[in-house]
């Protein structure tokens, strides 16, 4: 089966030496790949290349041309005078020419997307009044309205309460089951074992593969800079204290 997205030998940076190097992976339909690494490890840079905002220094990206992007909800403006439905409707900008007003079909698509993320009842609620988890789901709905084969999620579990995180996880599983490819950037390992594959980045690609086989102590040390500690009684094999939280991307 041809992958939805193929990245080969990718290096990218901002004028100086590469911020991330040697990235090679395939994303197939129905797969969820967790992109792991410390802050500054290159996750955001990889996403920027995929979204076409940054030209790669080396290597190639092929396959999907349209991406649904779900940014961190912590960055969205809470004082903006829009409802959840208005935000979901923003997903039509790439489908309906921007100079045309949106019509009934778009509103229906936006309401359907909100229903998919269990927010049909809150469609008319002001975006800034929603909880962090609900806002994150609205942003997922917006990406669904874009109707792209590949979804990129940037730290979707940051600032999200546990019930919302579980909802989000099962939602991502359903979206993948429908044949989408999903990349989830995260700096914590909480859900890593649940993804189909993990891509470990720390300024270069440390490892890529099935989480159970890939997330060895050695890989985690290389990914997170050595601050790996066992967490007795937890589901994950090891816990991680990220060493480079101060770095920016």
């Amino acid at each position: 089966m041809t992958p939805l997205l193929r990245v080969v030998g990718l290096a990218a940076g901002y004028g100086g030496p590469p911020v991330v190097d040697g990235v090679t992976f395939d994303l197939r339909a129905g797969e969820r790949i967790g992109v792991l690494g410390p802050n500054g490890g290159g996750k955001s840079t990889l996403f920027r290349v995929l979204l076409g905002e940054l030209e790669p220094l080396r290597g190639s990206v092929s396959g999907a041309e349209r991406f649904g992007f779900v940014p961190q909800t912590e960055r969205s403006r809470l004082d903006y005078p829009v409802s959840a439905l208005d935000v979901a409707l923003m997903g039509t900008l790439s489908r309906v020419p921007w100079w045309r007003p949106t019509g009934r079909a778009e509103r229906r698509a936006a309401r359907a997307a909100l229903a998919r993320v269990d927010l049909a009842d809150l469609a008319d609620r002001r975006f800034g009044e929603l909880s962090g988890g609900q806002r994150q789901r609205v942003l997922v709905a917006r990406a669904l309205v874009q109707d792209a084969p590949v979804l990129l999620l940037d730290e979707p579990f940051t600032g999200v309460d546990r019930p919302s995180a579980e909802l989000l996880e099962s939602l991502l599983a359903n979206l993948a089951a429908e044949g989408r490819g999903i990349l989830i950037a995260t700096h914590d390992l909480d859900q890593a074992l649940a993804w189909d594959e993990v891509l470990c980045l720390n300024r270069r690609q440390v490892a890529f593969g099935r989480p159970a086989e890939t997330l060895t102590r050695r890989v985690l040390e290389l990914t997170y800079g050595g601050a790996v500690v066992p967490l007795p009684g937890e589901g994950a094999p090891v816990g991680v204290l990220p060493a480079h939280h101060h770095e920016h991307e």
Binding site: L51, F69, S76, Y80, P81, V87, M90, L93, W98, Q146
Partner: protein, 268 residues
């Protein structure tokens, strides 16, 4: 009742009100974007920076629209050049350019050899608005509203989250340029009645007041237009019966409206 209706039997009062309503419609809608994009100070700077363009056009006998457009371009180039001078912060560069250009415009407008009409570009001449001024303002208002309608979705997406707007099809540069052009258009609409000095009042105050009252964009726009219209009527009454300057009365009431809503909302 007679005292309330009497001002509107006069042609110059009718024209003043129509001019203010046109300004209020564009200022109310555009103002919402200016407030949401946190561009209030930039909008005022731009209105002032294009002033010499207006004055020169009036002196040479060119259409004001052309003068305004050239004024905006000159201001943009001057800001870009000044920002590149080493050792000058961008903020400082903008302040220097705006002050220099506005000063130049005032110098020309208030020069003894300038015809009297040119001075009104600075302070406005609300009660002297002519039918042809109104026709120009109406044409510009229609163009500005069309521009606002066409740009609505772009402005909405870019303003919500500039950084992640591109994957959605957002074009931040286009949104910024459109707002720049629209502020220039609004300045041209308002300059005859309110004068260059008070344009910012109608661009910022109604929208800022409306923002205190609602959390939805379309409602905010309608409320901003309503606030502008009410203050226009009130300002004209004030001007008529208390013999105060028309433009300043309207601007003053807009500030009073904003402060009142603020105080009431805080008390509620």
């Amino acid at each position: 009742m007679h005292a309330l209706l009497q001002p509107w039997t006069l042609g110059f009062m009718q024209r003043a009100l129509l001019e203010l309503l046109l300004v209020g419609i564009v200022g109310g809608v555009l103002g919402c974007w200016i407030v949401l994009y946190e561009l209030s100070y930039s909008a005022e700077s731009l209105a002032h920076a294009l002033f010499p363009g207006l004055v020169i056009a009036a002196l040479v006998g060119f259409p004001l629209v052309l003068g305004g457009a050239l004024g905006v371009l000159a201001a943009a180039v001057a800001v870009a050049v000044a920002s590149r001078v080493p050792g000058i912060e961008r903020d400082t560069a903008v302040a220097i350019v705006v002050t220099a250009l506005f000063g130049l415009g005032v110098l020309l407008a208030l020069s003894p050899s300038s015809p009297p009409g040119v001075q009104s570009l600075l302070f406005g001449d609300l009660l002297g608005v002519s039918a042809s001024d109104l026709a120009t303002a109406a044409g510009l208002t229609a163009a500005a509203l069309l521009g606002l309608a066409v740009m609505h979705r772009q402005l909405l997406v870019v303003g919500f989250d500039r950084r992640s707007s591109r994957p959605l099809g957002g074009r931040p540069l286009l949104a910024d340029l459109a707002l720049l052009a629209l502020v220039a258009a609004a300045t041209l609409i308002a300059v005859r009645g309110l004068g260059n000095l008070l344009v910012a009042a109608v661009l910022v105050a109604p929208a800022a007041t409306a923002q205190l009252l609602t959390g939805r964009l379309l409602r905010m726009m309608v409320l901003a237009i309503t606030v502008a219209a009410l203050c226009s009527v009130g300002g004209l009454y004030l001007s008529y019966y208390a013999s105060t300057a028309g433009g300043a009365s309207v601007a003053g009431l807009l500030v009073v409206a904003y402060l009142s809503v603020r105080v009431i909302r805080r008390g509620a």
